[in-house]
């Protein structure tokens, strides 16, 4: 994760509450939320700041609390191609879970953004050490990947579909 962010709150109780209230953690076991809070920090990024940058180490899972983020790919000398925008309540990034642990796209802040940042190395360690936690977390990431794939397929169909008069 590109560290142009500023740490805003590290109070464990606050982090637990914010994690528990994030849609990504809905119905997650309380003990798992508390364990995740141990490796979580809250951060803020300004408009234009990069949450992720292509090719950089995928070292965190980001859970957006507020603000808008553009997931995009850029070719040198050209405008970025926006693939999708993400908003408060959305998770950002799953490359931290799979080798080679590098981001494939840029994520740029369209507005000031506030987010929860979970350290990827610790999360991977927790997944390996606790299969129940590991299953719960990887199922959520799996759901996220499936949902984004479905949206992308719908996007492809809509972009190539010719409307009737």
């Amino acid at each position: 994760m590109t560290h142009r962010a500023s740490l805003t709150a590290g109070d464990p109780d606050t982090l637990r509450v914010r994690l528990a209230g994030h849609p990504f953690c809905a119905d997650l076991d309380v003990s798992h939320v508390h364990a995740m809070a141990e490796v979580t920090s809250e951060r803020e990024l300004p408009t234009g700041g990069f949450l992720l940058q292509r090719g950089q180490p995928a070292d965190a899972l980001a859970l957006l609390l507020e603000g808008d983020v553009s997931l995009e790919v850029t070719e040198p000398g050209d405008d970025p191609i926006v693939l999708e925008t993400l908003h408060g309540g959305d998770p950002v990034g799953w490359s931290w879970l799979f080798p080679p642990y590098r981001w494939l796209f840029d994520a740029r802040c369209l507005t000031p953004v506030r987010l929860l940042q979970l350290d990827a190395a610790h999360l991977r360690g927790m997944i390996a050490a606790d299969p129940v936690f590991g299953l719960a977390l990887t199922q959520r990431i799996g759901q996220l990947v499936v949902q984004r794939l479905q949206f992308t397929r719908a996007q492809l169909v809509e972009m190539t579909h010719h409307d009737r008069p």
């Binding site: 808008d68 553009s70 405008d79 970025p80 191609i81 926006v82 693939l83 999708e84 925008t85 908003h87 309540g89 369209l110 479905q150 949206f151 719908a154 996007q155 169909v157 809509e158 972009m159 579909h161 010719h162 409307d163 009737r164 008069p165």
Partner: protein
């Protein structure tokens, strides 16, 4: 001015209308405003007309204007075939033929007392525009009014003036998203169905009007059902190659229904199975 509220099922005679204005919405979509040369005929939101370009042919086009002003009819047309391309090239002053209105309208009365959710993809905003205009006119009859509008790209957005005005109107909650954008677009990017889980409305007490590509409506219905909207409260409008407009010729048959006569507006349970039909 006398407004005729006459039954039109079975009417096959077109009436002359003169084009008063041609508004270019996008590179291939125009809105044509026409005035009747005889008495105007009342219509309901969601109904369509058969629009005749003399010497070329007819096409079924949804009415996109305000139902309260039947003396000024608007049709919004994408140039995709002979007739619609000809309509895109017409100039003010030209006379065209119109017969209608036809078809089952949007269930505006059923939506009263409930949240009204409108999902429109691409040119699909045209058939729901009269419903939005009417709902805003009688704002007190409805709960929350939500518009989810999707387009392929910012340049494919239709009714931009309306969208800007509705954005500023506190009576309607407008969310616009595009499938593809480049720098300069500061709005959402992604499919319109992605908005369904997150926008505020009461899924158990709402009526949803959906219009757009059938794949979009299918994905929308899935997302609405997942959110808890009863299937019978989800309405879609379907289009096929309509010819007669009165359920006689069979061109627009989809399984057991003729879209022109039985639709074009259907509840989701009426057509969900029909949209899976592979061959017609």
């Amino acid at each position: 001015m006398t407004v005729l509220d006459i039954p039109t099922q079975g009417t096959l005679t077109s009436r002359p209308y003169q084009i008063t204005t041609v508004r270019h919405q996008t590179h291939d979509i125009v809105t044509i405003d026409v005035a009747p040369q005889q008495h105007p005929i009342a219509f309901r939101p969601g109904q369509f007309d058969m629009v005749y370009v003399y010497g070329i042919g007819e096409a079924a086009i949804s009415i996109s204007s305000d139902p309260a002003t039947p003396g000024l009819l608007s049709h919004t047309i994408r140039a995709v075939g002979w007739v619609t391309r000809a309509l895109n090239d017409l100039q003010p002053g030209t006379t065209i033929g119109i017969r209608g209105p036809y078809g089952r309208p949007w269930p505006m009365e059923e939506a009263e007392g409930k949240d009204l959710v409108i999902i429109a993809g691409g040119i699909g905003l045209a058939p729901v525009r009269p419903a939005i205009v009417e709902a805003l006119r009688y704002r007190e009859r409805y709960g929350r009014i939500v518009l989810l509008k999707g387009a392929r790209s910012p340049r494919d957005l239709v009714f931009r003036d309306d969208l800007d005005r509705w954005h500023a109107d506190r009576g309607i909650d407008v969310h616009v998203t595009v499938d593809s954008a480049v720098r300069g677009w500061s709005g959402r990017v992604g499919v319109v169905t992605k908005l369904i889980p997150r926008v505020p409305f009461d899924p158990e007490n709402c009526v949803v009007l959906t219009c757009g590509p059938e794949v979009m409506m299918w994905f929308s219905a899935e997302a609405l059902l997942k959110r808890g909207v009863p299937p019978e409260r989800i309405y879609v409008t379907l289009e096929r190659n309509m010819k007669c407009g009165v359920g006689s010729c069979g061109h627009c048959q989809l399984g057991p229904v003729f879209l022109c006569r039985d639709g074009p507006v259907f509840s989701w349970p009426e057509v969900a199975g029909l949209l899976d039909v592979r061959e017609l």
